[in-house]
Symmetry: C2
Subunit: 417 residues, 2 copies
């Protein structure tokens, strides 16, 4: 391509960055020099506020308040407090979200509770997406096996027709965004189809929370879970969140009965009396350090509307798609080009996808590989600019044009891909 075309793209990037300056939170994060980080959908970048919150939690709260920090630093109520902050990002009312366990454990609780709410002699089927992140399929199948239910693997595009006119489905458990292709599914439509068939709907928001204007309440979702360490930048292994629609809370049955979900935990009674509200979804002592870090990270959203963040995200991914076209990168794009069907990532297919990702990393552009042939590039909107997007696209062009992916050093697989 000509230098002129590149100059024009650079000018466009600058113009778009100026347009979206209100959602630029780059100063809230630390990223190494020379790195363009397109893996915030796997591990969000270091949040400076998370780091500071963690230091305070360790040095002052743990170190000096000691056991008193449970009251003085409000550790005990942190799962609900941080849940309320996340609720603002995913269109949920206060008191409907709790954080603490992993996504998988949270989903186990959601699917189990849904089944207990709705399973009867005629309703024995749970639908889920065979292309969901595997843990979703595993944990859902596990609950079905435990309760004698049938798991049916139905792609999201077929979910509505499978549900229509049926009366055997009790739950449709879907991911909001396909973790590989980045396709955004219609939460409201699938939820409506489930409800019309008398079923419940459970959503995995791992790849939409914080970047898509999720509307759990408006969409009628019954249950949802989501991850704290991807776009929310809560840190490695950050606690996940669990949403239970308020209408279901009085009959929410937690399969893992622990003291943190008890109505009066410090009465130390051997009888389990579930707490009112979302607290009954808690289990054991919460991972305080992880929750505190997540709470710090969420301050990056202070003063922002998630709608504006979504607009920035779409602008970034849309600009990247344009760059692919204008730079002549003609890899098959697995991600829908329509805004309404796209999460916050762009996935490309390449037969040597793993090596392409490694070659990009060697150029300072960090994305990741997903089986079997996906180059996955996530665009965390709070700390990426349109300039970064252009840098990534030009690096990808170099990798492909120079066939850098063919070098042997880019083919060595690590334990974690």
């Amino acid at each position: 391509m000509s230098d002129d075309a590149l100059t024009e793209l650079r000018q466009r990037a600058d113009r778009l960055d100026a347009e979206h300056v209100a959602t630029d939170r780059r100063d809230a994060f630390e990223l190494p020099e020379g790195v363009t980080y397109l893996d915030g959908n796997s591990l969000g970048a270091l949040s400076l506020a998370a780091r500071d919150a963690l230091r305070d939690a360790v040095d002052r709260q743990w170190g000096r308040q000691l056991i008193r920090a449970w009251n003085e630093s409000r550790w005990w109520t942190a799962p609900e407090r941080v849940g309320d902050r996340i609720a603002e990002l995913v269109g949920a009312p206060a008191g409907s979200i709790v954080v603490g366990d992993s996504t998988t454990v949270s989903l186990y609780k959601a699917v189990y509770a849904a089944a207990r709410l709705r399973a009867d002699d005629s309703r024995r089927v749970v639908l889920t997406d065979p292309d969901s992140f595997p843990t979703d399929v595993h944990v859902t199948r596990g609950v079905c096996d435990q309760l004698g239910l049938t798991l049916e693997l139905v792609h999201p595009t077929e979910a509505a027709s499978r549900l229509e006119g049926s009366n055997d489905v009790l739950l449709a458990a879907y991911s909001h965004v396909d973790y590989r292709t980045g396709e955004l599914w219609d939460l409201a439509a699938i939820t409506r189809a489930a409800h019309d068939a008398g079923a419940l709907a459970c959503w995995d928001l791992c790849h939409s929370a914080g970047v898509v204007d999720v509307d759990l309440a408006g969409g009628g979702a019954d249950f949802a879970v989501g991850c704290g360490y991807k776009y929310l930048s809560g840190g490695p292994g950050a606690p996940a969140f669990l949403y239970v629609a308020p209408a279901h809370l009085p009959r929410f049955t937690n399969p893992i009965l622990g003291w943190n979900g008890h109505a009066t935990p410090f009465a130390m009674s051997p009888e389990h009396v579930p707490a009112e509200g979302i607290t009954r979804a808690r289990v054991g002592t919460p991972p305080v350090l992880g929750i505190v870090a997540l709470e710090g990270a969420l301050t990056a959203y202070d003063g922002l509307s998630v709608g504006d963040v979504r607009a920035r995200s779409l602008s970034l991914t849309g600009f990247f798609l344009d760059c692919l076209d204008l730079l002549g990168i003609d890899l098959p794009v697995a991600t829908p080009r329509e805004d309404t069907r796209r999460g916050s990532q762009v996935s490309l297919r390449h037969p040597d996808a793993y090596a392409v990702v490694q070659a990009l990393i060697a150029r300072g552009v960090i994305g990741d590989f997903r089986e079997p042939d996906i180059v996955r590039l996530g665009f965390a909107p709070l700390y990426l600019s349109h300039g970064d997007v252009l840098d990534a696209a030009t690096a990808l062009r170099e990798v492909l044009v120079g066939e850098e992916f063919a070098r042997p050093e880019h083919r060595r697989r690590d334990l974690v891909t």
Copy 2:
């Protein structure tokens, strides 16, 4: 009492501290000036190595290695690696312990797996201690309800006779140390009684790991769980550990099927194939920050034998009991005086126990209250000295003699007691 008696006690404290100098790890912890911390059995004191490990994990690993830290900083294998370090403290072989979820979730997995191993038409009964920490009773009852089993509340002193000659029990699930009284139960004897009756044994080591010379393998325990944030000082809400006897691993059924317990997690297969070994007990993405902090904290045990730590612990609690006698503190002692029956705490009964604890805290001696009438004083051996023990005893004497517990400000209850 006379000044002479106090002087003599002080000399004895100094002599005992000199005798046990090899297990003094006070320098590995930070405690506020003027505080005698007798609540390390609820939240262990700040470990400096945990703090440093966490800083490195945040600033360098998360901040600069970013997603690459899963390989470069060995985050992925941390649950098993830290499990192996804990195994050395509780007499378990390498490859039998994993860390990650909360104690309650870990116990849920253990009880469920035990039931799946052993429940049949004739064995439908699970025994547990009505006086166990409530979460143990709740989660065990929950599994029983799910699987149609019967929970029988049988005190540890009655467990052997309940088991003898029976053939209906599938699991005896007990706590190694009573969290209120500090009584240490005979793990090997109860396990033997369970095995003689064809049942399995599961142990909660929350109040013994790191302070009692637990011998899981020698005692024949089938399953065990324990806490990372008490004597192990992993930090608030630190991940718990789960032990599965190697003989049971091939048939261990995890009720919560997640991608971290999969044989080939990065193949991203929708079929769940359990990993070999203890890895199959993993569930979701592990709480990396919490595990890293715990790994740091465990370095306090480097170069120590747990037998020597146990000897120091018994010396501390034994000296405290002597101080009570010699200082004329005649509260009923809930904790056994025999070394073989005592964990690492001393619990006293007082009708105003809550206020007594608050009055002690006002004097800088931090213990805790447990319903209904327990003043609970934990002696974390690594950072407490016999001098601290004497300070605590003299403070207690002042609180009682001066009736300081009668002051109104000591009766106000906080959320977390």
